[in-house]
């Protein structure tokens, strides 16, 4: 069964709650209303001739332009060797998507990861905890507007960049060399010198 046929079955069952199939740029997908996703998933898995028993991937994508967070479900059927991509769009302010863990156990950990990294809440999930990040982590890093918190429990995440520092030393030495007669690069004085931004970075 092709993706189009699966999509038609969905439209027949759920009507307008299942959006149109996107024009196949690379992989076509269809947008499903968030509140119906659990039923859609149950339908896709239990219908014998669909039988999408393999929840291959549950991924979250942050779309600030559309002000939504997409949760993408890649479904596949070992039996019939066909698949379909579903998308659920959740509001960025408070993203809430019903869990499909009850349909595919595989969704358990993948939804946990989506919650962890994008902050999508899945009501009904058995244990919605952070997976990859520490429990006391602030924010959800895969959101586009996430800003790095400086260090973690006093552990700095800054590393000096010797390349830049060496350039600063060179600038200083050459400035002095230009000022006075040429002499070997002196031991660094304490005076901070404003280094111009490297041109390839600016």
């Amino acid at each position: 069964m092709t993706t189009n046929e699966i999509h038609e079955r969905l439209r027949a069952k759920f009507g307008e709650d299942v959006g149109p199939l996107s024009e196949p740029k690379v992989d076509p997908f269809c947008v499903v209303k968030a509140e119906r996703i659990a039923e859609v998933a149950r339908f896709l898995k239990d219908t014998p001739e669909l039988q999408l028993d393999f929840c291959e991937d549950v991924a979250g994508v942050d779309q600030p332009k559309k002000n939504v967070i997409e949760v993408v479900y890649h479904l596949f059927s070992y039996q019939h060797r066909h698949g379909i991509v579903l998308k659920v769009e959740a509001d960025r302010a408070n993203p809430v998507v019903p869990t499909v863990e009850t349909v595919w156990k595989a969704a358990n950990w993948m939804e946990r990861e989506v919650y962890d990294l994008l902050g999508v809440v899945f009501p009904g999930h058995s244990d919605l905890r952070r997976v990859l990040l520490p429990d006391d982590w602030q924010g959800h890093p895969l959101r586009k507007d996430w800003t790095e918190q400086g260090g973690y429990h006093g552990i700095s995440n800054e590393r000096e960049n010797p390349l830049v520092e060496l350039r600063r030393l060179d600038e200083k030495a050459r400035a002095e060399a230009a000022a006075l007669a040429p002499k070997p690069p002196p031991a660094p004085a304490a005076a901070p010198v404003p280094a111009p931004a490297p041109e390839n970075k600016a």
Binding site: W146, R159, K172, A177, P188, P198
Partner: protein, 267 residues
């Protein structure tokens, strides 16, 4: 659980037979030659010379054939190469490289910088031993800021580029260095007033994380500093495999072979 007599005595029998095989295999290894080599001091050759020619060791730059095109700098995903070009004070037409630094501590030896190089000036050597007391000493400087080297003019109909034998320059550097040498003393950090001056340390920060496996979750997803965008944008445009059949990708593998015939993998 209950056992039939067959299972009961079958267990004994299988145990005996399987031990017979296993013990005979292990004992037979006493009569075979071990495969380990006694690194570093009991090998027939220095280990660097037993490595295959394509081995991706420390990066080496031959200033003699460097065109100063900065393709390697753009190709590097983590920005461990830094090149600074200026006009020569003597004749303004001549551009000179005042800084060509490679931070081997940050380099992940992916070889992406070697491919876009038009002349094969930057290549991976088979050197891998540069233990150093200070990580700052792992920055290899291929241009002397005091007297910068002029960029190399490529002439179109040259058969080959006069590149020094691969590894010779790096070997010389390593022979000269002292592993316990004092680290260069850096200038104190500046006041964060000019944003441009604060920016440079940033871009490497997010990208450098996977290089050191000790990365903390805290490092997850550093916000891309504006400078990072600039760097990585250049990466994307330049890191594609060089389409023109310049002697580069062959040179990456081939340059070592003529110069190092005895370096065929011994294994």
């Amino acid at each position: 659980m209950r056992q039939t007599p067959g299972e009961y005595f079958g267990n004994v029998g299988r145990t005996v037979t399987s031990f017979w095989h296993g013990l005979s295999v292990t004992l037979s290894y006493l009569l075979r030659r071990p495969v380990t080599t006694q690194y570093p001091d009991r090998t027939p050759l220095p280990v660097r010379e037993m490595l295959p020619p394509r081995y991706r060791g420390f990066l080496e730059v031959d200033a003699g054939v460097c065109t100063g095109c900065q393709a390697c700098e753009r190709a590097c995903p983590i920005g461990c190469i830094q090149i600074n070009l200026e006009k020569d004070a003597a004749n303004p037409k001549q551009r000179v490289v005042t800084q060509f630094d490679i931070d081997e501590a940050k380099c992940m030896f992916c070889g992406l910088c070697v491919e876009p190089c038009p002349t094969g000036a930057i290549q991976h050597t088979r050197e891998f031993e540069a233990a150093s007391r200070s990580v700052r000493n792992l920055v290899f400087r291929w241009a002397d800021p005091a007297n910068p080297f002029p960029v190399y003019k490529v002439d179109k109909n040259a058969e080959y580029y006069p590149r020094a034998p691969l590894g010779s320059l790096m070997r010389a550097k390593l022979e000269a260095r002292d592993w316990a040498a004092a680290a260069p003393q850096f200038l104190p950090p500046e006041p964060p007033k000019p944003p441009a001056a604060k920016a440079p340390p940033k871009p490497a920060a997010p990208a450098a994380k996977p290089a050191d496996s000790a990365a903390k979750p805290a490092d997850s997803a550093a916000k891309p500093a504006p400078a990072a965008d600039a760097v990585t944008a250049k990466v994307a445009e330049a890191a594609a495999p060089a389409p023109k059949p310049a002697p580069v990708p062959p040179a990456a593998a081939g340059a070592a072979e003529p110069t190092a015939p005895s370096s065929k993998p011994q294994a």
